[in-house]
């Protein structure tokens, strides 16, 4: 077992195209680190650099205290699970899992034991003699996991392993991956663009955008304290409501209690998560709260919760409210919502950085 350390890592492709720059973070031994960001943010490139499939043009990557910049993938003691599984189509499930071990000259009885163990953990025992083609998507996914497990590597690398599965299976596999990683205690780096996957799997979340790190931290810390507008908008579903505030034009119509917010002269963005807005019960004292009036134009009741969609002050930005329970709003008309001052976020409009309240 070993941690992974990245020290101002960068990648520049031919033609001076920068894919990632100045990435530094440390995944502790046994930790589960998730790299998340929109497509093209460099997260896969970074993972492939850790795997040794891409060269490192700047900085250093070390695995278990050893700098691996010049080390071939097979000697880095890593295992990787690919998005399309990359199973060898002409080999049986058993051979797929055994191949890496055979190449490392592991004795055949040892291979048999390890594959049997992996098959037991992943419930693949009935399929060992089958070809990948004869398996369902979820089973192929398990074989890909098995191929990683049998090697007993220092680090697992996952490259969007669940994005080819349907929603139901994805949820199920997500739980399985998490359980498995806990059980085996192997340091893992996981790439995804799905913020839900990222939130649920990670011990440590690295949010990336345009080849740079936006914020690193525990998932819930990032949820509660997003450092930038990007992180605020990326984490959480439905995304955080963003209300532009400009000192010149004053507070937008329909919002009460925002006058005291420290809006810089260049303007700010007020962010409120849909779940932090609540129907105004008609209390007269506003106290430590903001009051927002929305012209509702749609209501979605999904049972456990109800979503209200509407425009702030009837012509302002479009906002979403998530209210627990079945809600009672008539679809149309103007409704008032309140938000606790401790749960709102303020960002600098120009730099996008968080302004502490």
């Amino acid at each position: 077992m070993a941690g992974v350390l990245l020290n101002s890592v960068g990648k520049t492709y031919a033609g001076n195209i920068r894919a990632v720059s100045d990435i530094s973070f440390a995944v502790p031994d046994g930790g589960f680190c998730v790299l998340v960001g929109p497509s093209g943010c460099g997260k896969s490139t970074l993972l492939r650099m850790i795997a040794g499939l891409e060269t490192i043009t700047d900085g250093e990557i070390s695995i278990g205290g050893r700098v691996v910049n010049q080390v071939e993938p097979m000697h880095r003691d890593i295992a990787m699970v690919f998005q399309n599984y990359a199973l060898y189509p002409h080999m049986s499930v058993y051979d797929n899992m055994a191949y890496g071990l055979r190449n490392r000259k592991t004795p055949e009885p040892e291979i048999a034991t390890r594959v049997a163990e992996a098959a037991r953990i992943l419930e693949l025992e009935p399929f060992l003699k089958r070809r990948p083609k004869q398996l369902s998507g979820g089973q192929r996914q398990r074989v890909a996991m098995g191929r990683a497990i049998v090697r007993k590597p220092q680090v697992f690398l996952f490259d969007e392993p669940l994005s080819n599965l349907d929603a139901k299976l994805r949820g199920q596999m997500r739980v399985e991956i998490k359980t498995l990683q806990r059980q085996l205690g192997v340091t893992s780096v996981y790439v995804t663009h799905d913020q839900l996957e990222a939130m649920t799997l990670a011990d440590m979340l690295v949010v990336m955008n345009r080849g740079r790190i936006e914020q690193i931290g525990e998932p819930l810390y990032l949820y509660e304290n997003p450092a930038t507008i990007f992180v605020a908008g990326f984490i959480g579903a439905p995304p955080m409501n963003m209300i532009p505030l400009a000192p010149a034009t004053g507070v937008p119509a329909g919002i009460l209690g925002a006058e005291t917010l420290p809006v810089p002269p260049t303007g700010a963005i007020l962010g409120i998560r849909p779940e932090h807005l609540h129907l105004d019960r008609g209390e007269t004292a506003l106290g430590d709260r903001l009051r927002l009036e929305l012209k509702i134009d749609a209501v979605e009741a999904v049972g456990a919760e109800t979503y209200f969609y509407g425009h702030l002050g009837s012509t302002g930005p479009r906002l979403v409210v998530r209210e627990a329970g079945r809600g009672s709003a008539s679809p149309h008309g103007i409704r008032a919502f309140t938000a606790d001052r401790t749960q709102i976020h303020l960002f600098d409009k120009v730099s996008g950085n968080r302004i502490e309240l």
């Binding site: 795997a51 499939l53 097979m74 998005q83 002409h90």
Partner: protein
Amino acid sequence: MVENRPFAAILSHVILIIGVVIIAFPVYVAFVASTTDPTTISNGQLSLIPDHHLIENYAKVLFEGTERSTKQPMIVPLMNSFIMAMIIACGKIFISLLSAFAIVYFRFPFRNTAFWVIFLTLMLPVEVRIYPTYKIVADLHMLDTYAGLTIPLIASATATLLFRQFFMTVPDELIEASKIDGAGPWKFFIDTLLPLSMTSIAAMFVIQFIYGWNQYLWPLLITTRDDMQTIVIGIQKMLTVTDALTEWQLAMATTILAMLPPVIVVVAMQRLFVRGLTETEK
């Protein structure tokens, strides 16, 4: 067809049957001719029912040869043709697999140039470069040898292109998975790429075997000794006799014999062959 229209079914069958008859009838006549005695053919009284000289004619052609023209037992050129076709087919596949592997998976200077040079040779079949090729083979003292017969025909742009196309459809993740699994390029080639290319290899083998078997001009130039001749040339030589009748029944028997190996190769590899040209296994 999805529709079930009896008239269309009958019509398409009639057309198909006519096509088959047009193709198969000459072959059948050749077969019938190979089972008769010389007088029947020279009298022009060939019937459409096979005669009973079949074993006699084939045995004679294989082990004794004609009486009036070459007088060579045809088993020798049959073997020569077989060896030549096998060397050409296997050699082409071997060389093309390696060159396609190099072109697709390795980054080296002038990689694209190498590809285009190979591509250009498509426009230079043996017939076009026959004089320089002959000169080289003669200077290397390879006339009347299997090497001389086969080596100039082995380099193949067609097969290289086909394998290149196939390799490019193999997902990159497979190579990456191999790298992580500790397989070097050579191991990846043998353990993964070759098994995946099996159907393409089979298709190439069929095509190239027939190509090698049917060679005419090159063996005609390069071989002078009777024991190095190929079957196609053997047939041609059987027909030229002076002041006598061609032994048609023997020539026809040779023709039928010459047709058999390609037919056997096609039939034996048909399933792989069709899959290789139509689907890719991934």
